[in-house]
Structures are given as structure tokens and as C-alpha cells.
């Protein structure tokens, strides 16, 4: 561009400065990314939204009309309220449990010496490295009815008299989700801990603070942004998780993602599936953006 500018310069009239062209350059440069975004995100999204207003019948299939039938069904049928409620509940409990376990886990991990830290970090990241299907089936093998390995063992030891219910329960889904979501929480808190000045704890100690006070008053407030951003990631991933609820929850315990899947691929009611998916997306975006704004305002001082 500079070569072109130098050769073109003598011919250009003095009133035309290269200024405006230079300032337009960034716009041209982001064009490919914008096109990609529009092409693979916005257009399909708009089509899905449009689809949710179409009609559908067992024999007539999809009719491209604009009606509110699907939305009315979701709004009035308590089945959908229960299902979205369950999705929200599972995501919230999963988030809470990962935060309560993950934050201390990251803190302890951060204080370990080099070799142990590497080992335990690998253990924590482990679930992410294993396919979601294999991992979830592992849970099913351990706790699946009276044939589950763990259930068998506990029963033969006489700890329990009947197999622990795990498959097709919300508890089971939450436990499996916590297992796979933990790395996101630990890594997020870990990143916040890295920014912590290690001397700050010594400073608090020298001022007379005990270990509990140091964690409550000094460490926790500083890693809270990390916990909250981890919570946002975990919440949105759990609320839209598909494989884990599909295998552990099965057909009996549907969540929004598995319901949308069933509408698309089993019932073939694409418009209703689209409406469920759009509602899930809109709800998630609202919650995540809102939470993020809250976090950033509340912790403005902790962020650099």
C-alpha cells in the first residue's frame, strides 16, 4: 500500500489527503471475519428464528407461514415450563457445586509445589480430554441400576440395600455435569489466583489476620471475578449441555437441549424444536450478559 501511495502521490490533487483511505482500511480488514460471522452465525440464527414461527402438521409437514402457534404452546403447556425449570435448576446447582468445590480446589492447587501441581492439574483437566460419551457412559457403568459396579460393591458391603438411583435422576445429571464442568471453574479461578500478589497474604498475616480471615477478607474478594466468570461459563455450558443429560437423563428426564433435539429428529416438528432452541438461546444470552455486566460493575476495582 505504501508503494502505491508513493507512486500515486504526485498525481493526486493537494486537497485529497490519504487520511480517509487509511482510516477506512480497518473496516476492509475486518470484512472477511464479518462475512464469516454473518454467514455461519447470523443467517442460520435468523432462519431458526423464522422457522419457529412456521406451522407444522403430522401429515402436511412444515408450512412457511407466520403464526404464533409454537410460542403459544410453549407459553401455555406446563410441560415446557417444567422442562425449562429443570434445565435452569440443573444449570444453577451445577454452577453452585463447581464454584464451591472448584474455588478451593484451585486455591489448594496453586499452593502445591511444582511436580504435584502438574499431576493434579492433569487430573482435573482429565474429564476434558475424554470424549463426553465415554465419560458419561463410565458414570452409567458405575451407577447404572443394580448392575452398576459401584452399586454392586456398596450393596455387597452392606452399605446400601437397594441400588443408588443415578440414571434418569437430576442428581445423576448434576454429578456428571459437575465432573465435566470442573476444569472450566478451576482454570478460571486459577487465572485469577495467578494475578494475586503472593506477598498480599503475608501482608495480611503481618497485620494480625488468621488463615480464615485471610481467605475471607483478602483472597476471596480478589478471586471473586474469576469465580463469577467461571460460573458464567459453567452455567451457560450446563444449560445448553446435550450429551450428558441425553445419556444420564435419557428420555425420561428431558432438558431444553434434549427436547429440541427430539423435536427436530424424532417428532420431526422442526418449528417447535426451533422455538425451544431460540428460547434457550435468548434466555442464556440474557442471563449471561446481565451477570457479566453485574460482575464488571461490582468488581471494577479488582479488574485492571
Amino acid at each position: 500500500m505504501s508503494a502505491a501511495a508513493t507512486t500515486a502521490l504526485p498525481a493526486a490533487t493537494p486537497t485529497v489527503t490519504p487520511e480517509p483511505r487509511a482510516s477506512r482500511a480497518p473496516l476492509w480488514l475486518i470484512l472477511p471475519a464479518v462475512m464469516l460471522f454473518v454467514g455461519i452465525v447470523l443467517v442460520p440464527l435468523a432462519m431458526t428464528v423464522l422457522l419457529s414461527f412456521h406451522d407444522w402438521g403430522q401429515y402436511k409437514g412444515i408450512e412457511p407461514v407466520l403464526i404464533l402457534k409454537n410460542w403459544q404452546e410453549i407459553a401455555t403447556d406446563p410441560y415446557y415450563a417444567e422442562m425449562f425449570g429443570r434445565t435452569l435448576r440443573i444449570a444453577l446447582i451445577t454452577t453452585l457445586v463447581t464454584a464451591l468445590l472448584g474455588a478451593p480446589e484451585a486455591y489448594i492447587l496453586n499452593r502445591m509445589s511444582g511436580r504435584w501441581r502438574g499431576l493434579f492439574l492433569l487430573l482435573i483437566l482429565g474429564p476434558l480430554l475424554i470424549s463426553v460419551v465415554a465419560r458419561t457412559l463410565g458414570w452409567a457403568l458405575l451407577f447404572g441400576g443394580s448392575n452398576g459396579l459401584a452399586n454392586k460393591l456398596l450393596m455387597s458391603l452392606g452399605v446400601i440395600s437397594s441400588p443408588l438411583p443415578f440414571l434418569f435422576t437430576e442428581t445423576g445429571v448434576v454429578i456428571a455435569l459437575v465432573h465435566v464442568m470442573m476444569p472450566f471453574m478451576v482454570l478460571s479461578v486459577w487465572a485469577a489466583l495467578q494475578r494475586l500478589d503472593p506477598q498480599v497474604e503475608h501482608a495480611a498475616m503481618s497485620l494480625g489476620a488468621g488463615p480464615v480471615t485471610i481467605i475471607r477478607r483478602i483472597v476471596l474478594p480478589q478471586i471473586m471475578p474469576g469465580v463469577l466468570s467461571g460460573a458464567i461459563i459453567v452455567f451457560s455450558l450446563s444449560a445448553s449441555a446435550f450429551a450428558t443429560p441425553a445419556i444420564i437423563g435419557g428420555r425420561r428426564l428431558k432438558v431444553a437441549a434434549t427436547l429440541a433435539y427430539d423435536e427436530f429428529l424424532n417428532t420431526l416438528n422442526w418449528p417447535l424444536g426451533a422455538a425451544v432452541a431460540v428460547l434457550l438461546l435468548a434466555g442464556l444470552v440474557l442471563i449471561v450478559v446481565g451477570a457479566n455486566a453485574l460482575v464488571e460493575r461490582r468488581y471494577a476495582e479488582v479488574f485492571r
Partner: protein, 353 residues
């Protein structure tokens, strides 16, 4: 003041304190008695064990050997949070999520000081370091110098028995550092708080301290007042580390009244020395004279209030500093003779390295 108080019982004592990290010995046989109200500096190059020693006093590191006593009581079994020491860290280590006032108030809260008294003491502490009006600022919105002051106020507000400062000024620019040095000394004098300052900056140690502990490779090289340490360094290391110094190789000649001879310069020798010796003289104590060590001015550098001469002599290179008093000075290439008073030099056996 210091001479009086030193005869009193020491406030802080370190006896044969040592610290090893694995096989690496960071501090070796550290002995020091600090009198109440004294301002002590640990001075030495990076890695010589200053921070390690300070951390042992603070309680963040346990000594491998030796005892540390505060007001006669063994500190080794006392938890850092119960030692009542004020510490200013090199990184300041302020609590970033608290305002300046909350930072300063934290130690008082831990001591369960009443809310009214707390507010008053926080206000006074911030005023003392010149930060009135900054109570509600967060550390990230303050300059390095201001953060430094908050850290100082936070350490002092709890009325510590000893104030420990680990290179507190090394992150500040030269001008601010000088201002803070003066302020630190003033505050310390006013409060009379016994203070230990860790620094690798010799001017800082010289200008602030009652006594300097010069350290090298985990050992104490010399303990003394700034003037003593500067003028009578006990080792080549101290002489080199505290300001510039010239080392000349000289010989002891003659018997009966033996004399030290360095080229054309000579003086009566103290008894008990023989063979080659090293003479150390500070650059500002050497003058140009009619007789003395012959040499040639290799370079002459004007530095405002003084001239710096780099000379070559038969006993080795020499640096000479002369005040810019308006008198004529020798030019580059000129032959000169260097002379100094015998009391301005220190002697060591053996040739200069």
C-alpha cells in the same frame, strides 16, 4: 541518640541465625543486636540474603539455625500474625479491593480497635504520609509513590515494635526516591520506631541509617555507622560496594621505621606489616600535589559540582574526584602526582586484585 540507646537492652536480637534452602546456604551465622529506636540497613548486592533474613524476622521463613529474640522473648515459636511487626513489601502488597483507608484500617480491625478510634488513627496515619484526601481511592488508581505511602501508613498504624522495609523505594524513579528517603527518615525520627531497611542502594543506606549491615553471599561483612563503614571498610568487598575506591599495590620498605611506598608516595608503615600490601583510598581523598605517586590524566570528565579524573599510575589506574572550586585543573594527557593523607587510606595485606 543512637549511642545512648545502644547501651540499653537490645530490642531485637539475632544470634547465629542461618538459613539454607536445600544445599544452598542463603544466610550464614547472622548476629545482630538492634537497639530501640535504631534505624538499621541491610545493604548488599542482589541475592546476598537480605530478604531471607528479613523474612525470618517477620516469621514467613523459619531459620535453619539460631535464635531471634524480640524484647528478650524467643520469636521462633511465635506465628507471624502475632509478632506485631510492621512490614512494607517491595511490591507494596496492598489489598487491591480495598480503598486506601480500608487498607490502613485492616490491621486495626484485626486488633479489634473500636470504630471511632480506628477512623481517627487511619486519618492520622494517612495525614502523616501526606495522603489526606485520598482515603477513598483504590490502590490501582494511585501512583507508585502514593501506593508506597499507603503501604507505609498501613505498616505504621498498628504501632509495630519493629518496622521492616524490603527495598521499599526501588520501584520509584530517582527524584521520588530521594523525596521518600527524606520523608521516611523524618517519620521514623518522629515516631522513634525501630526500623530495618533492606536495600541494595548504597546512598540510600548511607543517608538513612544509624548503622549499616553490609552483606555478601549470606555473610555479614561489616556492621557500623555509615561514616565508619564508608571511611574504614573492613574488607575489599565493603570498600568496593560502598562507593568508588582506588586500590594501589604498595610495598613495605626498610626496617626500624618501615615505610609504605607506592611509587613516589610514601608514609610511615604501621608495625606488623610486610611484603606487598593494598592501599584503598576514596577518589575524593586524593589530591594533586608536587610530590606523590606519578601518573598521567587519561580522561577528565566535568560533572557539574565536581571533576572526575581517570589517571594512570605505575601502581594501577586511579580515579580522582575534585570539587569544582573554580581553580585551574590539570587537563587530559598532563602528568600529575597523586597524594593523600595516611589517615584517609585503609591497608590490607597482599597485592591488589
Amino acid at each position: 541518640m543512637t549511642t545512648n540507646s545502644r547501651s540499653a537492652a537490645p530490642l531485637l536480637e539475632l544470634e547465629h541465625v542461618a538459613k539454607a534452602f536445600g544445599s544452598h546456604v542463603a544466610v550464614e551465622d547472622f548476629n545482630l543486636a538492634v537497639a530501640p529506636g535504631e534505624f538499621i540497613s541491610f545493604l548488599g548486592p542482589s541475592g546476598c540474603g537480605k530478604t531471607t533474613t528479613l523474612q525470618m524476622i517477620a516469621g514467613f521463613l523459619a531459620p535453619s539455625r539460631g535464635t531471634i529474640r524480640l524484647e528478650g522473648c524467643d520469636l521462633t515459636q511465635v506465628h507471624p500474625s502475632k509478632r506485631g511487626l510492621g512490614i512494607v513489601f517491595q511490591s507494596y502488597a496492598l489489598f487491591p479491593h480495598m480503598t486506601a483507608a480500608e487498607n490502613v484500617a485492616f490491621g486495626l480491625e484485626m486488633q479489634r480497635v473500636s470504630k471511632a478510634e480506628r477512623a481517627e488513627r487511619v486519618r492520622a496515619a494517612l495525614a502523616m504520609v501526606g495522603l489526606s484526601g485520598y482515603e477513598d481511592r483504590h490502590p490501582r488508581r494511585m501512583s507508585g509513590g502514593q501506593q508506597q505511602r499507603v503501604a507505609l501508613a498501613r505498616a505504621l498504624v498498628i504501632r509495630p515494635s519493629v518496622l521492616l522495609l524490603d527495598e521499599p523505594l526501588s520501584n520509584l524513579d530517582a527524584k521520588l526516591r530521594e523525596e521518600m528517603q527524606i520523608e521516611l527518615r523524618q517519620i521514623q525520627r518522629e515516631l522513634g520506631t525501630t526500623t530495618i531497611l533492606v536495600t541494595h542502594d548504597q546512598t540510600e543506606a548511607l543517608s538513612l541509617s544509624d548503622r549499616i549491615v553490609v552483606m555478601s553471599k549470606g555473610r555479614i561483612e561489616q556492621i557500623g555507622t555509615p561514616q565508619d563503614t564508608y571511611e574504614r571498610p573492613s574488607s575489599a568487598f565493603v570498600a568496593q560496594f560502598l562507593g568508588k575506591t582506588n586500590d594501589f599495590t604498595a610495598r613495605i620498605e626498610g626496617a626500624g621505621p618501615a615505610r609504605i611506598v607506592a611509587g613516589g608516595w610514601s608514609a610511615p608503615a604501621p608495625v606488623g606489616l610486610s611484603g606487598p600490601v593494598t592501599i584503598s583510598v576514596r577518589p575524593e581523598r586524593i589530591g594533586f600535589a608536587e610530590t606523590g605517586l606519578p601518573g598521567r590524566v587519561a580522561a577528565r570528565i566535568f560533572q557539574g559540582n565536581h571533576w572526575l579524573f581517570q589517571c594512570e599510575t605505575e601502581c594501577g589506574p586511579a580515579i580522582v574526584v575534585r570539587p569544582n572550586d573554580g581553580l585551574a585543573q590539570p587537563g587530559e594527557g598532563e602528568a600529575v602526582r597523586l597524594a593523600w593523607r595516611p589517615e584517609d587510606m585503609s591497608l590490607r595485606a597482599g597485592a591488589a586484585a
